[in-house]
């Protein structure tokens, strides 16, 4: 046994053959191979020899060691990251691996600590290191302002992290949303105006005042007010705020498959509408808008007789 071991160790050519074979197996099973697979493929291979080759592959970063329910799993590392990782130590590789697995959703330090079993200070050191090498990046999540998540440098962060088109640097672009809100309304309004002026029959007038979400989307895109690419869903989100503003109504109609702007055989139609009432009587009085309404009593500190809001309103 000892004899053989020495012999094998002294035979680098043999080791290279085994190495290549293992790599081939890994390519064949991209999701990873177990010891068992290697054993089946090369029944004559000594366990120690196998361990040695695998250790070598792991140490140069060509192979990944993973754990799953059935035990250890070996997987090929893509050449690029392998080369990037040159000169990194094992802990660094481990952290890198965890971050890579997190994909475009990213992962935050706390979770990394649990997964890697490394102390927080260590993790932080490694992260800094990796960041400086431009292997990973930190992205601020919109979900929680203090929470930073890490992901590979070249990965496009998920919408749930960035918040989509409405966020820049995790800040919600309130003004951008309001501008779009106004522009969409303007579009629907002018559409309704044209419909009214057409003097067609009432039914045609109504129908031509509708715009599909696709039409609104096209209009907004052509306006070029947005630096980022907006999807049709983005525009529908904006149109929904107009519904909650009470300025727009939506109807869903069935559409032929393949019609522009239809989703699942349905099409959303939007139109600008008039309110059913003017501001109600109560809010035309100062009391209706008064910030100290509840504190106001005749004879009290704040009273109708001496009320300055009343005075202002009366002299207006």
């Amino acid at each position: 046994m000892a004899d053989a071991k020495v012999k094998k160790e002294c035979d680098p050519a043999d080791a290279a053959v085994i190495e290549n074979r293992i790599k081939e197996l890994c390519i064949q099973f991209p999701q990873g191979i177990t010891d068992q697979v290697i054993q089946n493929d090369m029944p004559h291979l000594e366990p120690t020899q196998r361990a040695m080759v695998i250790n070598k592959l792991l140490s140069v970063g060509q192979l990944d060691l993973l754990r799953n329910s059935s035990g250890l799993l070996y997987r090929m590392k893509d050449a690029q990251s392998a080369s990037k990782m040159k000169g990194s130590d094992n802990q660094e590789k481990l952290v890198y691996q965890i971050i890579e697995d997190a994909g475009n959703k990213g992962i935050w330090t706390r979770d990394m600590r649990f997964k890697s079993n490394l102390p927080l200070t260590e993790v932080n050191k490694i992260l800094k290191n990796l960041e400086s090498k431009k292997l990973i990046k930190a992205v601020k999540s919109v979900a929680a302002s203090k929470k930073k998540v890490y992901m590979l440098y070249n990965v496009q962060p998920d919408r749930s992290v960035t918040g989509g088109a409405w966020y820049s640097d995790q800040d919600f672009e309130s003004e951008f949303v309001e501008v779009l809100n106004q522009q969409c309304f303007k579009f629907l309004q002018s559409k309704a105006e044209v419909a009214r002026d057409s003097k067609q029959s009432p039914m045609i007038q109504r129908n031509s005042s509708f715009a599909t979400s696709h039409e609104v989307w096209k209009y907004i895109c052509e306006l070029g007010i947005s630096k980022v690419d907006l999807s049709m869903e983005d525009i529908e989100t904006i149109l929904n705020t107009l519904i909650y503003d009470g300025k727009v109504e939506m109807t869903i109609i069935a559409a032929k498959e393949g019609t522009v702007g239809s989703v699942d055989g349905q099409m959303k139609l939007f139109r600008g509408v008039n309110p059913i009432i003017q501001p109600t009587g109560l809010v035309k009085t100062p009391c209706g808008l008064c910030p100290v309404f509840d504190e106001c009593h005749e004879g009290g500190e704040i009273s109708p007789s001496r009320c300055i809001y009343m005075t202002e309103w009366l002299n207006f």
């Binding site: 309130s174 705020t241 909650y244 008039n274 109600t280 009587g281 109708p304 009320c307 009366l314 002299n315």
Partner: protein, 560 residues
Amino acid sequence: MTAQEARLCGLLLREHFGEVVEKIGTHLLRSGAQNLRTIVNESGTPIDLVKKSLCVLMKHGACRFSIGRKGPGSPVEYQASCERILGILRYPRYIYTAKTLYSDTGELIIEELLQRGHMTMSSIVKMVADRLTHNMEEGRSIEYNEVVSTFSKLVETHFLQRCPPVSEVVPPVSTAPTVPGAPAAPVSTGPPTPESFSDCYLVPSVSLAGRGKRRRSGEDVVLDQGTTKKAKTDLQTHGDEGIYWQVNFERFHLHFRDQTIISAVASKLDQAWESLGTSRFDSDYETSSEIVRTMLRMSEVTTTPSASCTQALSANEVFRSLPANYSISRPILDQYLTLLVDDPMEFVGKTGDSGGGMYVVNLHKALTNLARATLESVVQEKFGSRSARIFRLLLRKRHLEQKQVEDFAMIPAKEAKDMLYTLMSENLVLLQELPKTPDHAPSRTFYLYTVNQLATARMLLQHCYKAVANLIDRRLFQTKESKRLLEKSQRIEAIMASLQASGAEPEQLTEVEEMISAPEKQQLESLRHHINKLDSAENQVDETIFLLKSYVASTARITR
């Protein structure tokens, strides 16, 4: 009755009937039904004043009496009606409506009746004819008959009705107190409704001929002198003695309700966009609302006041009943009806296909939607359009977590939180806790924001009462502040009038006129402006009150 309602009732009573009636009225409102003796004792008011106050209240329907609760033989008890006292706020609107429907004559009939509570037809006619004649040019006068015909029309359309007979003797209050077991109202099952009497809307035949008489200035007005010479011979007998009339507030309210619905339809479906700026008078300018108006008019007789929608009408019937100047073709009418039915506000509903389609006006839904719009408008004006967005969102989606509110309304987390908390502190938005585990641990609890439309409407109704009371308070205060000045100007006006009558020199007149200095004049002018503004604001708030109240009442009927 809430504290706000009580305060407003008190102010209204004081304004219209003076402080004694205010005292008795508010006392009764607070105490509930009481007999005469207790009222005298508890209010500390002399008995004759109490009697007079009760009489005034009763004449205006603001108070009624019934046999004591302790059974036959116990003293009669009096009860004030908050509802009717608050109705005083609406007097200007009743009068204005009568004017738009039945011109000056209608206006004066309603005005006189509101001022006096109830009257016989013959006395109303004489009084109105005299007043109309007085306002005409010299030498012209109005026939009693003309007033009679307007009066009959008001009865025909149920805006006026007979007072329910109380007992043989009128006025009721003179017999009522302390007469044991008075044969008055039917036994304690509440007062009879006017409509339970068959001839409630029956106009008696009266022998009234003649014209209104002009009042001479300076001459003391004696009511009966208003009759012509011929009538003077049979002074008191016109054949309608004992038949008293009152304003049918319910009918007015139905009219207000219908008008509100019609104008909502007009503003939603008919009006040109405001930004267009031009008023257009095309044939289709207000067709939708005209259709709804026609439907409501047609169902006035067939639909009970408390129904949640009108009786179904066929498109054919509606087509025949449209006003002649709306010359739209039948297919176009169908289109309008379809659009009305399609509209998310659901003012009009379709119930069947016979007769070219059967349609109803959804009264309850319309009121619900109008009330919702009212709440939204309050939030919008008071807290801004983005808070209103959140409020509408919650009205539509019912229950939402904070994150969902942010996402749907597209409002940044911090602002959304601020707005939600502000709305919550004003009780416009509620927060519901939905624990996942029985220990109510915050981390395992859903926090859902929600809006309760009915409760919010009730709350805003109370706000309205307070707001009106504040406006009245302020008006009384302003008037009191300038009391001296007002009295002075009144004195001077009186002097001027008498000087003019006696044919004084123009110089003399200017001299008197100059007794009021320029700054004083200015002050009077701005006072007048302020009073007008406060007055019209009171009426505007009353419109909100009317709408919210109708909605609350209608909802109560539906859920009962």
